[in-house]
């Protein structure tokens, strides 16, 4: 991208004198105050938590892991999410499930929510619809950083069953 040169406007004498501009600002504030006190309400502040803002449809929220029909975690520990993750916040330890059809599963699956940038790359990288970022829930505040490292159990709490087909055509 080329550099954009911005022409700065010369200040007028009134602006340079400073006081008239302060008065102008006070006029705006006072007008808004009087309008809200006596006339039509025009307040930007929301009275949280009694009133909550409606999020846009594309708000992602916290991650969750989906399950198979038998209730086991769908994740096969391929680590493509942690590979795609620009913040390097996903830590997976893979293990052998012992089954004939699916060999690999995550022994532990940790996401450091303080490091996560909520970009959604993990969800896009996932080849088997195992991780989703559609819970629409904020990460909750906590008193320690450790609590913000969420584990497989917490990720599965919100989890839904996914019936997306695993494996490619003709398998």
């Amino acid at each position: 991208m080329a550099t954009v040169q911005v022409e700065r406007r010369e200040l007028t004498l009134a602006e340079k004198l400073y006081i008239p501009e302060v008065v102008r600002g006070l006029v705006v504030t006072t007008r808004q105050m009087l309008k809200n006190a006596f006339g039509k309400k025009d307040v930007a502040t929301i009275q949280y938590p009694e009133v909550k803002k409606v999020y846009p449809d594309r708000f992602r929220g916290r991650h969750r892991l989906t399950t198979r029909e038998d209730g086991t975690v769908r994740c096969v520990a391929c680590m493509l999410c942690s590979t795609a993750c620009p913040a390097k916040c996903i830590h997976i330890v893979a293990g052998d499930r012992g089954g004939a059809d699916v060999e690999k599963y995550p022994i532990s699956f940790e996401i450091d929510l303080l490091v996560c940038v909520y970009c959604g790359f993990c969800e896009e990288a996932c080849p088997c619809d195992a991780i989703r970022m559609d819970s629409g829930r904020h990460p909750l505040p906590s008193f320690s950083r450790d609590k913000q490292r969420i584990h497989k159990v917490q990720l599965l709490e919100d989890g839904v069953r996914s019936i997306a087909r695993q494996g490619g055509e003709g398998t």
Binding site: A77, C78, M79, T83, A94, A100, E103, G170
Partner: protein, 537 residues
């Protein structure tokens, strides 16, 4: 001497050279699966097919011999089409489970697919299913679906390990690799088949599912498990070594290494002692490096060299050995020196040597050149001695020897692990192990090879040579080096066998003792009897 043309470049090669070898000499890359320079040629994967003027059909470059007047095209339309078809054929029954395949990222099939095919599957029939996660031996798993039947593993067992344990059974798309009835893939070199498997069919049970290979960081090193000193790569993930892989070195190990060496990395991961300790008023205390070294120096100064027993180790790097030799020739001359090391073990005529220490030859060479004489540790005698300075903690000491050492007043131990020696130590100086230090080893055949620092040691752990240097310096030896490279330069200057070597000249394959050209201008002697530059550290 046939003269041929490959992609328009003319080359004259020796009789019997294959087209593939000629192309490699010209720097032209021909994709292969079944060809391995260390094994016989079978030409069964057909990936290296090239177009020639000697045959209407494309010829396998790995098998076709160079002929006079031969013209070869490795990039034309016909070859490209052939490669695409061969890959499509190989992938007919391949499960394409790259996301859960351990080989993904270092898979030849993946690389070739993206380079030469990159077309979506045109097939819609059900794939042929074969055994998955089949245990072939104590260290090897087979996924027969991923196998492309290049037979590299079969040939390796037949030709290199000399233990025919693998074979191909059944025909057509039912073909699969398996062990002979009643056999297991358990030869001492078995895990090499995992390295040479171009796909993820054979996987190491030790490394299986540990991490994805693209997360690994790697450095060159030397396997310390026997005096053969196979050239290796140490692959680390999150700062912890996860596997050894042999690196090609025609002077030492070709492409191979033994399983004992390969799996030995895990022996060095636990039980590390990384904190120096001293004894104050008869009590063992945690110390910092400086005061621990000072404590050791005070003991040595008080007792005098004549009352010291020194146990040196064939686990020294050449640099450690040189600095220790300087200590023993200088301030500690007069001490009784014993050479320790691990006891001998099994050997064979492929790679495994009986001497289970990595650098006995180099230490001997350096000590002899500097003029330090030593006796084997079995001759240990502590009569008239009060102090032991012990380098290394893997000497396999007998109880009697341990009692002898325990009877002395002081034991200064330079070690890395929690061993009985650590408990006996009056001063403990934590040492670095082979993958934590820069340096070089000399193997049993005299090949000097570089070790790279792959893992960062704890700040308190120093190499054995560093302690020798500091102690020698404090005792008035007056030599000091800043880097292992500077030590190596001084060592090459002083030890005739190492003449003409330097870290850059060692390169990837190392140099044999005595093969270096002496330098044109002799380097100044950096490190002899100068005055002490500063007070004891």
């Amino acid at each position: 001497m046939p003269t041929m043309t490959i992609d328009g470049q003319e080359i004259t090669v020796d009789r019997g050279t294959t087209v593939l070898q000629a192309a490699t000499q010209l720097g032209i890359d021909i994709p292969t699966f079944c060809y391995h320079p260390g094994l016989t040629i079978v030409a069964n994967c057909r990936m290296c097919l090239v177009d020639t003027n000697k045959s209407p059909k494309p010829l396998p470059a790995c098998h076709a011999t160079a002929m006079d007047g031969m013209e070869v095209w490795t990039q034309n339309e016909k070859v490209q089409k052939v490669r695409k078809s061969v890959l499509e054929f190989i992938l007919v029954n391949h499960p394409v489970d790259c996301p859960i395949c351990d080989q993904a990222g270092e898979c030849v099939l993946q690389d070739h697919y993206f380079n030469f095919s990159a077309q979506p599957s045109r097939l819609f029939h059900r794939k042929q299913h074969k055994p998955k996660a089949k245990v072939l031996g104590p260290d090897i798993m087979l996924d027969a679906e991923r196998c492309i039947l290049c037979t590299r593993c079969v040939r390796f067992c037949d030709e290199i390990a000399k233990t025919p344990q693998l074979t191909v059974v059944n025909r057509g798309e039912h073909s699969e690799i398996t062990t002979f009835p009643g056999e297991e893939l358990d030869n001492p070199y078995a895990i090499n088949v995992v390295d040479i498997c171009p796909v993820g069919a054979l996987t190491s049970r030790d490394f299986r599912f540990q991490t994805r290979v693209w997360f690994l960081q790697t450095g060159r090193s030397v396997c310390p498990e026997c005096s053969k000193g196979c050239t290796i790569r140490v692959d680390t993930f999150e700062g912890v070594p996860r596997r050894y892989k042999p690196a090609h070195n025609p002077q030492v190990n070709d492409w191979w290494m033994c399983d004992t060496g390969r799996l030995s990395y895990s022996d060095y991961l636990d039980n590390r002692m990384e904190g120096p300790t001293t004894t104050v008023d008869g009590k063992r205390r945690v110390a910092d490096t400086e005061s621990a070294v000072r404590g050791a120096v005070e003991i040595l100064r008080k007792e005098g060299a004549g009352k010291v027993v020194v146990v040196v180790s064939p686990w020294f790097t050449n640099e450690d050995a040189y600095l220790t030799a300087r200590l023993l020739k200088g301030p500690l001359s007069g001490a009784a020196v014993y050479m320790g090391g691990r006891p001998d073990g099994v050997q064979d005529d492929i790679l495994i040597e009986a001497d289970k220490n990595p650098n006995r030859r180099g230490v001997a060479e350096i000590f002899n050149a500097v003029g330090v004489s030593y006796a084997p540790l079995s001759a240990l005698s502590t009569a008239g001695k009060t102090t032991a300075l012990i380098f290394g903690d893997n000497h396999g000491l007998s109880d009697a020897q341990r009692d002898l050492l325990g009877g002395l007043d002081h034991r200064i131990v330079v070690g890395a692990f929690m061993t009985p020696l650590w408990r006996q130590a009056t001063v403990f100086l934590p040492a670095r192990i082979h993958w934590e230090k820069d340096g070089s080893f000399t193997n049993v055949d005299g090949v000097v090879q570089r070790l790279e620092r792959v893992v960062k040691a704890a700040a308190t752990a120093k190499s054995d040579g560093w302690y020798s240097m500091k102690m020698g310096y404090a005792l008035g030896g007056g030599y000091r080096f800043d880097t292992p490279g500077a030590v190596f330069d001084a060592l090459c200057h002083d030890v005739p066998g190492f003449a003409g070597m330097s870290y850059s000249r060692l390169g990837d394959h190392g140099m044999v003792l005595g093969s270096g050209e002496p330098p044109l201008v002799p380097s100044p002697d950096v490190a002899t009897d100068g005055p002490a530059l500063e007070a004891a550290p």
